[in-house]
């Protein structure tokens, strides 16, 4: 093989390899691991205000995981992991908490942080913190690298000790604890949120399984 032919083969190999890598990168970046977006519903009475309604379940039977709870029907879950809200808006959030709970491993998360007034309304009662030994989950939202945004919202969701049965989708639960709070969005950005109560498997400090997979106890909030 002469020198120019060798160089041509080498160049073609490099270009093909680079192209394959670029294609794989594009495919990975285009593939979203998240569910269909849950859009914030604009208020009919107040300007620049919208509402989001979420639930937390002790399993995956009533959320967006698919028929019969998807591949992990026994994993705890939020009802949706892909939230979309408008920019520069007050977002009124209602979370129906259907799961039991226990003690936080970090009492930092028993406080309500980053909400309007630094408070949440839990079953009609305004609070700024909850009992750290009786928490089901948390909704903890924060900025991501490169966005330059510093939004931080964390609200503890007390454990559900009600006994009145309710049916939602394919799931059977008890009457939920209702947690309401509001926070303000800024300009366009994508934030990440997750639960900070150790509700996954016993591995990794109970941060395995549902805590370590998209679609269950973590997700994104897109401000657009």
């Amino acid at each position: 093989m002469n020198r120019s032919k060798s160089l041509g083969v080498a160049l073609a190999s490099v270009l093909l390899g680079g192209g394959a890598l670029a294609l794989a990168g594009f495919a990975l970046s285009s593939a979203s691991p998240h569910q269909a977006a849950l859009n914030c519903i604009p208020s009919q009475t107040a300007a620049h205000t919208c509402s989001l309604s979420l639930s937390t379940f002790p399993d995956s039977m009533a959320g967006e995981q698919g028929n019969n709870g998807g591949v992990h029907p026994d994993w705890v879950s939020y009802s949706n992991d892909n939230l979309a809200v408008p920019a520069n808006t007050t977002v009124d959030v209602t979370i129906n908490q259907y799961d039991s709970g226990g003690s936080l491993n970090n009492t930092f998360f028993d406080r309500v942080m980053g909400t309007v007034g630094g408070v949440a309304i839990i079953d009609g009662k305004t609070v700024s913190s909850v009992d750290p030994t009786n928490v089901g989950h948390t909704f903890t939202l924060r900025g991501i690298p490169g966005s330059g945004k510093t939004l931080f919202v964390s609200v503890p969701l007390p454990a559900d000790s009600n006994t009145k049965p309710v049916n939602i989708g394919q799931g059977q639960y008890t009457k939920p604890v209702v947690v309401q709070f509001s926070f303000k969005t800024g300009s366009k950005a994508v934030y990440e949120w997750n639960c900070e109560f150790p509700c996954g498997s016993t591995r990794e400090g109970q941060f395995g399984e549902a805590m370590s997979a998209y679609g269950y106890m973590s997700g994104t909030l897109t401000v657009n």
Partner: protein, 244 residues
């Protein structure tokens, strides 16, 4: 090749080495302060100085390698299809081997002494009324509390020109507490408190990241910090809700 040709070639080799050494040294002197994040503490100043010194020290060695490679390509490129005869082994050149050994040893000892000294300075405390901050990593949020105040925050607030003692731990897996602009990088281990000191000396915002892969949202375990004037810091501290 004649002796005069040899001398000419070696002069070329020396010139190439000298030019590459100067280029490497210039990169070493001016590169780190421009390429690294804005320095906001004594530790970061030392880190950047170490980068400068190590790069300048490495410049003549790297230049020697590149100059030799260029020289070999220029003068020893083999033409033809026959296998060329072997040249004399380098190990038989006593002067070369001795010089190489001495220079390598001196450089290594210098880097070792500098590194140990920098590490000792990096971990030292002045003991002058340091502000203690408890740092807790938990998948995937950093939290900071100020002992004796019942104040905790998801962002880090520090006063300017006062030594800070970070007591770093984790609630679940191993995290890496990294204050990018302050040259602070220490593992956060479960059940262990690791202390590290720094003194912020620039006002403004800085970035905090996790530098140990810690699970699903490791890439999002990031927050910001603020260096405030002492009076601003006192105001911030007194305005915070007290956690029980």
């Amino acid at each position: 090749m004649t002796t005069s040709n040899n001398k000419k070639s070696y002069r070329g080799l020396f010139l190439t080495w000298a030019i590459l050494t100067i280029a490497g040294a210039l990169v070493g002197i001016f590169g780190p302060s421009r390429l690294m994040p804005r320095s906001m503490s004594d530790n970061m100043h030392l880190t950047i100085l170490t980068m400068v010194v190590f790069t300048v020290a490495a410049a003549p060695v790297a230049a020697g390698v590149y100059a030799s490679a260029l020289y070999a390509l220029r003068h020893w490129a083999h033409k033809g299809s026959e296998v060329p005869p072997s040249g004399p082994a380098v190990r038989e050149n006593a002067m070369f081997v001795t010089t190489w050994l001495i220079v390598s040893t001196l450089l290594t000892v210098f880097l070792l002494i500098w590194g140990l000294g920098a590490l000792a300075v990096d971990n030292s405390s002045t003991g002058k009324n340091p502000l203690v901050v408890d740092v807790t990593g938990q998948q995937w949020v950093w939290s900071f509390s100020y002992p004796g105040t019942h104040v905790s925050s998801p962002q880090l607030y520090l006063p300017d020109n006062r030594e800070v003692e970070f007591r770093v731990t984790s609630k679940d897996v191993t995290h890496g507490f990294w204050i990018v602009n302050m040259g602070i990088q220490v593992d956060a281990n479960v059940g262990v408190i690791t202390t590290i000191h720094t003194t912020p000396d620039k006002l403004g915002l800085f970035n905090i990241r996790c530098e140990q892969f810690c699970g699903l949202n490791h890439a999002f375990m990031v927050t910001v910090g603020h260096v405030l004037t002492p009076s601003q810091f006192a105001s911030w501290l007194s305005s915070q809700p007290q956690q029980a």
